[in-house]
């Protein structure tokens, strides 16, 4: 395990942050599951939305195609080891979800690169990958496919997924008739049942009712004991402290603190109160 380095309040020093969150060589150390290397994400945003050819060419000829550069992430370095649980915290627009999506391999960063090892289950949105016309049962198989499991493999998991989600009576109902709580349950049940090496969770656990949230927390605990690595984006500092060992504080696309979940969450809360 790496030493915990607590960046002090002079955390503006980016290079210092870069040094300490690296704990080994990804190529050689099989224990490192996620390796984020100097990742930056820059969106080139047109100042106004153009989506038809006429406007595009008129603007192009007039030389009025203006873009504004927008740095969502800048120089992010991060490593996560097997069995670690990491929270990404920060205010809205700090780049947490973008970083999570880059780690999931959904978008490519404009600078730097990310390497990962093992099977990854991204839970980035309620019911992503669900087909609203299909029934709950069909969706379990469809979602399983998105995570890389064939029909036969999912057949074995089917019963335990249904049991965990407590949606046995609704399996033959099209999921467009599901409530949002039911969708979360189904999505979460599938994602945890495939026993991924890495589980990415983006603010979705706050939806279910209290008993189900408790059940989720217990499940996450047991998965963590089995060695699953987590990255969680959350605004609930209570949840962060309970679920995660470490945390990264993102502000304006930069890591300004990396440390134990307790410390980072406390600092975040303190700064939020100051605003």
């Amino acid at each position: 395990m790496a030493d915990l380095i607590h960046l002090t309040d002079s955390a503006d020093d980016k290079s210092q942050a870069a040094q300490y969150v690296k704990t080994g060589d990804f190529e050689l150390d099989e224990d490192i599951l996620i390796d984020v290397n100097d990742v930056g994400m820059r969106f080139r945003m047109p100042t106004e939305k153009i989506d038809n050819m006429k406007e595009y060419f008129i603007k192009l000829i007039k030389g009025k195609l203006k873009y504004r550069n927008f740095h969502v992430l800048d120089g992010i370095n991060l490593q996560v080891r097997r069995g670690e649980s990491l929270a990404l915290i920060g205010r809205n627009g700090a780049g947490k979800s973008t970083l999570l999506r880059i780690i999931a391999g959904i978008i490519e960063p404009t600078a730097g690169f990310v390497r990962t090892r093992g099977n990854m289950a991204p839970l980035l949105k309620l019911g992503a990958g669900f087909d609203s016309n299909a029934t709950g049962k069909e969706n379990i198989f469809l979602n399983g496919a998105m995570l890389g499991f064939s029909k036969r493999e999912m057949q074995k998991k089917y019963d335990s997924i249904v049991e965990f989600s407590e949606l046995k009576d609704f399996m033959n109902v099209p999921i467009k008739n599901y409530s949002s709580g039911m969708l979360t349950r189904l999505g979460f049940s599938i994602a945890v049942d495939i026993h991924p090496d890495i589980l990415l969770i983006d603010e979705i656990l706050a939806v279910g009712d209290a008993p189900f949230q408790k059940k989720c927390a217990e499940k996450i605990d047991s998965l963590r004991k089995e060695g699953t690595t987590f990255i969680v984006v959350s605004h609930s500092m209570e949840q962060v402290k309970r679920l995660c060992q470490r945390a990264v504080y993102l502000k304006n696309g930069k890591i300004i603190q990396y440390g134990t979940a307790q410390e980072v969450a406390d600092r975040y809360l303190k700064e939020c109160n100051e605003v």
Binding site: E27, F43, R44, D51, N52, M53, K54, Y56, R101, A104, G105, I106, I107, E108, R117, N119, M120, P122, L124, K125, G127, A128, G129, D131, N133, A134, E138, F141, L142, A145, M146, L147, G148, F149, S150, K151
Partner: protein, 273 residues
């Protein structure tokens, strides 16, 4: 180093397996969604081209039917329709697929190419069902001169892959453009109508009495060649080597261009969707 190579290969194999599983479930989903909640369900895939053919044959047989078409007219119309439909459905469904699957693109890790490919595959499966309709019509029309030849088996190979390559390439191109310019949807729908009428689906080129130059222009239409190829197989004639070269040449060329455009523009998809 050996170890790293091995783990990379393992990761690639896993990725490939994932793509295949996603692809097959997407194809299944496409086909199921087509006729979901309809009483006859999958039967419509056979019934639909059949009914369409009956309308077309009814409307056009008095105009073109007595012309010098060697084939029985209903068989002629149906063969034209199902071949053109394979290309039309594949491309027009693929056109919007990137935008339609916004949720999947932004929230899950699915290779982008899966979407256009799945539409081409599902329209190929539909084409398979339409072949059943064609065989039914041919059986019914035996008294009117429809015949079965062994060359029918050549539809599966080598004919089908060449048209699939062509449709897939076109799907790649159209879906890439649509992400950036939504106008293409309307342009393409008009173009498809034009294309339908310029392809000898329910008439023959000889009935048109075209001049040499316009005949040459008509011959530039790739669908005409795919259709001629298909029809000569029904008639029991093995197409010439030139015809093979044209069909595969165009198919591979369009596919390569499509793949290139798709790969070049896919990084930016997420910004414009």
């Amino acid at each position: 180093m050996e170890k790293i190579k091995k783990s990379k290969m393992k990761a690639n194999a896993l990725q490939l397996k994932k793509s295949m599983v996603v692809l097959s479930s997407m194809v299944e989903k496409n086909i199921k969604n087509q006729y979901r909640r309809s009483v006859l369900g999958i039967v419509w895939t056979v019934l639909n081209p059949l009914l369409n053919m009956i309308v077309m044959a009814f409307v056009f047989s008095s105009i073109f039917g007595r012309a010098d078409i060697e084939m029985d007219y209903p068989v002629y119309v149906l063969s034209g329709t199902i071949v053109f439909t394979l290309m039309r459905v594949s491309t027009s469904e693929s056109l919007t697929c990137m935008v339609d699957n916004y949720d999947l693109l932004t929230k899950t890790r699915v290779p982008y190419a899966v979407f256009p490919v799945s539409h081409t595959f599902s329209s190929t499966v539909n084409f398979g069902f339409s072949l059943i309709a064609l065989i039914i019509v041919m059986l019914v029309r035996i008294p009117n001169g429809a015949e079965f030849h062994w060359t029918l088996f050549m539809i599966v190979f080598p004919w089908l892959p060449s048209l699939m390559l062509f449709s897939l390439g076109l799907s790649f191109i159209l879906s890439s453009i649509y992400v950036r310019f939504r106008d293409i949807k309307h342009i393409y729908s008009v173009f498809l109508t034009l294309w339908t009428y310029l392809t000898p689906i329910f008439y023959t080129l000889s009935t048109l009495n075209l001049s040499e130059t316009s005949l040459k222009i008509m011959n530039l239409n790739p669908m005409l060649h795919y259709l001629n190829y298909f029809r000569s197989l029904i008639m029991g004639v093995v197409p010439s080597l030139t015809e093979h070269l044209i069909c595969y040449g165009v198919g591979i060329f369009v596919f390569a261009i499509g793949l290139l455009i798709f790969n070049l523009s896919k990084k930016k998809f997420i910004l414009y969707i």
